[in-house]
Symmetry: C2
Subunit: 455 residues, 2 copies
């Protein structure tokens, strides 16, 4: 089922041999090939279907297989596929292990994994072992060992994994990346980001609609409430670090000349989710969920120190009423950008000394080449268009059989923040050190993220 | 000279007896008295003269003594006093110990200490021992033991100390305090503040003007450059925490039902000051100061955990080009305010769900009674008027001989952040625990800061 033996036979390479070839892509992956990518979708809930639609809109993708344990998710997916006039894919819906059968399909070149967090790593590991170019939705790891699982499997198989961190492709984020690379902020000193998103209506619903309308979760909830909320019940840490850390990691070349050294995390008390249940018209003090002691602090703050001496501040803030904000800040020896006030200050360039100016003109002037080229294609794609770009990069990497711009080392490094922050909090703020998942390769690796306008 | 023996004889109380009287003010201090306060100014540099002018504008203050080692500072002060038509004070300018002679003057009821940081605690200790109601300018401590020095001396002498943290009286800060006390943010969860102020032109000057014009400091510098910059050369920590922590501490009742438990700090590399020297027209790579290795990281970030479960984020950011911002954020179970985008969100009250609205109307509607009453008096006082209020509170407390609203325990607790952050950074981000300077009294103490419109 896992097919690793056959995969190795085909490539003519052994796992041991491969792991000794740093950064060199095996021949079978390096060959140019412009044919359609035949895709398998593992997980076709709301997020999986976002990706599915992006595939259906492209003429270089074929949807050959879909997999979900929820019949409704399969049904919605088949309808979309049919609405787009595309051929019906093979369907895998026979329980939680049926994705392994999808992975053994010969007519699947690549898979997109959009499942509950605890399935991400096991599925990605099996997908790489099955020789499928793997696109993995974002999450934090459950344990550091999961990060090593990803890296080890990649180094054994050399099957690329792309981590689908869409915020790396947000328009303002990319314009700022452009400016960072032009040295407009000087040497980077301090960066901030985070996930500040009131998820109370995501963590609780009425079991029918995905957002709000009740205070149910787990088996009585629907969509993310069915599985995501349980992490807030049982875990305390930065559970969702990648939207904040992805862009920041690209700004300061993490795993490409720089790396994370250590972090410390701090958590507040947990009040927001309980209050939401108690004050909700369908909740109240007598509701069984009112008795739950949520472990997740309402605000979790993490500081990360890098090898090159920058500090990074990450925020996780999902249980309180607040406007959405990823809270980006990029600060260097020549200036500073902040997302929350949409402002910038560049010494010698901003019209007034010590005064913010609107970032708008800069964001337009330094619009990233990718956005200039693909603006039309991105229109209508999820999350303000950025979903188009992350999917595009995955497909173009898969077509070229090249290591993707956000790869397995990024996935491991960014996902590691979650268990490290849990450990730091559990130990009263103790500094926790990052493993070097690249085993020294960060010193040679070059940044190939969004260098031009192709993908 | 120190006069403690005489002080104790006068009050009829021994140090030992006093320290067993928690929170009870000795009789001589409790007596109502509306006479003028006769003031001694220790340190009459730029900051000292701000306070001096505030005293000269009041008819309940008399300036009976001034002290500085810099003849120019004395000269400027005497001119101001004369310009206001006030009597010439006694002058103490014979070296660094002459302030002790000022403290032995009988016609000095209270002193204002505005000297270089390393003098703050020794001078305040001597002032309390001399029975002078003590107003102390803000700084961080050099060592935790300094904080105990303040507390121990107060508990032995019962002579009140007011910590001159003016930002507690900033108009927006006080309006938000008003809202916090009306429970408009619900239960507080996370707070932020800091000192984000490009001080490069303060840390370096031409030795003549206080701000900019050169890259000199220490004996070749003038004003703050003469002593403050040296801390950036030799220390790495949050060197100036009180403007950020003061307002936040009042919001969450630190030392009044709540207390700081521990902190972790992180520092970036130090680039900004070196770059400033190298790139300055009067500096350059050959300038002797270009060879200095500054210890102070350009951005120092500190997280503090409180007994009641809030987290507090403090920033110290003084070496880079950036707009001034104390970066306040107040976040609770019902809403959030941020200073940097001048915005607020209150659930069920803000017009659009999940959308910021301008804080302006709230700041007007909940303008603090003190500001409503004293707006005219504050006009023209330093730092947007807030200097008036902090000085006013000091004088009114001194007249009433009551413990001031920002007292010795606040001074000790807030100043402790500096050495604790230095220790945390030196130990790779280790959590450092706060001493309980109140020795348990935080559980009973009540907040008497700005409760009404008198002071």
């Amino acid at each position: 089922m896992i097919n690793r033996r056959e995969f190795i036979k085909k490539t003519g390479l052994t796992g041991a041999g491969l792991s000794l070839m740093p950064e060199k892509i095996p021949a079978y992956l390096g060959r140019k090939d412009d044919r359609k990518i035949r895709l398998g979708f593992i997980g076709t809930g709301l997020r999986g279907r976002n990706h599915l639609e992006l595939a259906l809109r492209r003429n270089d993708c074929e949807v050959s297989a879909i997999c979900d344990i929820d019949p409704q998710a399969i049904e919605h997916s088949l309808k979309s596929i049919s609405d787009f006039g595309k051929a019906k894919p093979r369907v895998f819906q026979n329980g939680e292990e049926d994705y392994l059968n999808l992975l053994s399909e010969d007519n699947v070149d690549a898979v997109v994994i959009s499942t509950p967090w605890i399935w991400h790593v096991p599925m990605a590991v099996h997908a790489m072992k099955a020789g499928k170019f793997t696109a993995l939705e974002v999450s934090g790891a459950m344990a550091i060992e999961e990060c090593w699982d990803l890296v080890r499997t990649y180094e054994e198989t050399r099957v690329p994994l792309m981590f689908l961190e869409n915020v790396c492709y947000r328009r303002d984020v990319m314009a700022i990346l452009n400016m960072v690379r032009k040295n407009m902020f000087g040497e980077l000193i301090h960066l901030e980001g985070g996930y500040q998103h009131d998820l109370r209506h995501v963590k609780f619903n009425d079991g029918v609609r995905p957002y709000g309308g009740g205070v149910e979760f787990n088996e009585k909830g629907f969509s993310e409430a069915r599985w995501r909320t349980n992490h807030s019940v049982n875990r305390n840490g930065d559970l969702y670090p990648t939207h904040g850390i992805g862009p920041v990691a690209m700004y300061c070349n993490i795993n490409r000349g720089n790396r994370f050294l250590y972090l410390t995390s701090m958590s507040t008390k947990a009040k927001g989710l309980h209050d939401y249940i108690v004050n909700h018209p369908k909740g109240g003090k007598q509701h069984p969920n009112a008795g739950i002691e949520f472990q997740l602090g309402d605000v979790v703050t993490t500081m990360i120190k890098t090898q090159n001496g920058e500090s990074i501040l990450l925020s996780h803030d999902t249980n309180l009423p607040r406007p959405y904000s990823l809270g980006f800040r990029v600060q260097g020896t020549k200036g500073i950008w902040m997302a929350v006030n949409k402002s910038i200050y560049l010494e010698g360039q901003s019209p007034q000394a010590h005064r913010w100016e609107s970032a708008d003109n800069y964001l337009k002037q330094y619009d990233h080449p990718l956005w200039k080229r693909y603006e039309q294609d991105a229109t209508g794609a999820g999350h303000g268009g950025m979903d188009f770009f992350v999917f595009h990069a995955f497909i173009e990497s898969a077509k070229r059989k090249l290591n993707p711009p956000i790869d397995v080392y990024d996935a491991a490094t960014w996902m590691a923040i979650t268990p490290l922050s849990e450990q730091s909090i559990a130990n009263g703020g103790q500094a926790m050190h990052f493993p070097d998942f690249t085993k020294g390769k960060w010193m040679q690796r070059e940044n190939d993220f969004a260098l031009a306008d192709d993908y």
